[in-house]
Symmetry: D2
Subunit: 214 residues, 4 copies
């Protein structure tokens, strides 16, 4: 299972979270990555943890002030990027361009989608992975595997129908090790999580609890 | 005069540009800042140069994946931020919120505008400075001070009419020391420039030429 | 006082509302306009009521599929347009362009703003009127004149400081004749209202109650 | 073959075009629809021609000022809607919601896409049809069937692989009867065209020439 910790714009210390994630990943053998605010990618990468961007734009190099150029994210130490998070929705053309930009810069991609139909749609664009996150469950504390397990199995089937090399992650409401194994049982290859770790008093303990059942 | 070098998404080495800007600033006594891609703010700040963000979002801390949180920009070493560059146009409400967010995080603000009417509009929102950049001149190689000097004097008058503590910068097409003194003569307190330095073979020489007449 | 009834995307019959508004306007001598969904402008204008668009884009004629071209709104019978409603926020450049497009097509303009600072900003762009509508009060049932009367007087002062030919309207939470006279007492030249009329069981009675105290 | 004439924001008389399209459709037995500016839907529908919207938003009824509510488009006489035209790109979530809104209101849907990968993606969302329009050919005068015929055959294959009930249209650069038959030969069930008819001196003659080879 791949655990991707999204720090969003939380008032957290991304370096502390990254250091904890790195340690727990080394100790447990579970793949854990941290996605901080773009401005903090370099510090997070400096901890040795697998580092992801929260977003990449689809533009090439050039006159694009304020863009998140894939090559700059890679130069800052990112090895992957989320695209089309429900808090940063992109046009279809920009998702397509963003996947292309990430490939160009050597970044692994997870494209987010709200439901199995959208999972099928984004799988057609050839990302490495797709993450299904029902917007109404984000930050709810109720994991999708419990609120509506069919969403995960349907997403896995939808992605497979289009391109069986695309992995499916799931997100929204995940915070415990049980949520993680439930996601794995439904066919997910990983999880996105955010507040459960990034807002925890003790991020390391939160991550240890999370990966313990694996 | 304040010289703000915007690296946009150019295929440049922002650290080399930052080091050059820092040296030229120290040697000449001219205030020079560098605005790299957000992902490279930390490296640029590490050179000691005055470091600016190309963009800040207006959100507070919270669930805002992919945003550029003002506090994160500041934590990365930025001391100022552009807002509403013509390549990253924002809604009026988001310009207003972005100025507020920057103030909250201790970032100086330059809000961009296309013409004197928009300069007047953004001056009413209370930024530290306003930059007038006619979009048709960006990247043209023809400085606004030459193509249409009235735009600069009108912008200065417009800002003053609303709030005389708001400085006016000008941009678009500026690349030489003459452009810089022409801008100063028209009442500008600084300039935005981009390709003239960021795409130069020798950024240090370009900056030295630029500040030489001052 | 000018009363502008915004039908939003409510499940209402805009022609019934328009006919009622036309009658009450004729009977009372109060200026009342109706802003339906763009698709229904022609039917609403057919009732003889003063007809407004809810939004106009700033583009000129050309390849702009899906835009709301000012000339097309005018050809459909609109004589005015709202711009930058808080439910349809525009970039500063597009507000500027939208005002220009409306003038080009002979449409009167009301530009919306969230607070007195933004009122000052948009007044600098030269619209006919500005409407202050605190987003948190929209649909609240509590009129701005009661929740925070200073917002209205500050908005009037802000607009006057920039351009004293710009009228100020106020909106958000207005539904009764008392709200209307309170707005007038604070210096507003008109009001925007929506659900109080557009969702009323009897729009004509709602409008009669509204204008009765004038 | 289905011929959908997009009037964009051209300075044309949509009623003249609609009347011509209606006549040519009746005379030739070819299905022809006209998509005017939203403000003119009612007049265009009044000619008896099949009437389409250029865009629909995905929102439901409610507080959505300036939106294009599917139910209002239908009430104005539209029987179909384009979604995600390259001049009005939408987020993936909004394309999904727009298809749902159109179905709710009884509108037929054509979702636009730039390339075969995006055709596959949007076909996964269950529209009635998908239109492939390479942005670089829009308005070029060179039809896609000639510039790059593989784009059409690949789009047909892509849609079929996901959902064989989804028809494929093609657009960009189409203006003659030969373009139309070439599109049909490549597997397209229809075409989108714009300037070839909407900017013609004699729209009726242009349409007659267009459908003559069928």
């Amino acid at each position: 299972m791949f655990v991707l910790v999204n720090c969003k714009a939380y008032p957290c210390d991304p370096v502390e979270i990254a250091a904890a994630a790195h340690e727990v990943s080394e100790e447990s053998g579970t793949r854990i990555a941290v996605a901080p605010q773009t401005a903090r990618l370099e510090s997070v990468a400096g901890t040795g943890v697998e580092t992801w961007a929260q977003h990449t734009d689809g533009n090439e190099t050039g006159s694009h002030t304020g863009s998140a150029l894939a090559e700059s994210l890679a130069a800052a130490g990112a090895s992957g990027t989320m695209i089309n998070h429900s808090e940063k929705r992109l046009t279809l053309a920009d998702i397509d361009a963003g996947i292309g930009a990430a490939e160009r810069a050597g970044l692994e991609t997870v494209v987010c989608a709200n439901n199995p139909e959208q999972v099928k749609a984004v799988a057609a664009l050839g990302p490495d992975s797709v993450a299904v996150e029902p917007p109404e469950l984000i930050g709810s504390g109720t994991p999708v595997s419990q609120a509506d397990p069919d969403i995960v199995t349907d997403a896995v089937a939808a992605a497979e129908a289009v391109d069986d090399s695309v992995d499916v992650l799931c997100g929204a409401g995940i915070s415990t090790g049980e949520d993680l194994t439930a996601a794995a049982d439904l066919g997910a290859e990983g999880v996105l999580l955010a507040s459960g770790v990034a807002k925890a008093d003790d991020p390391k303990a939160a991550l240890e609890d999370l990966v313990e059942p694996l």
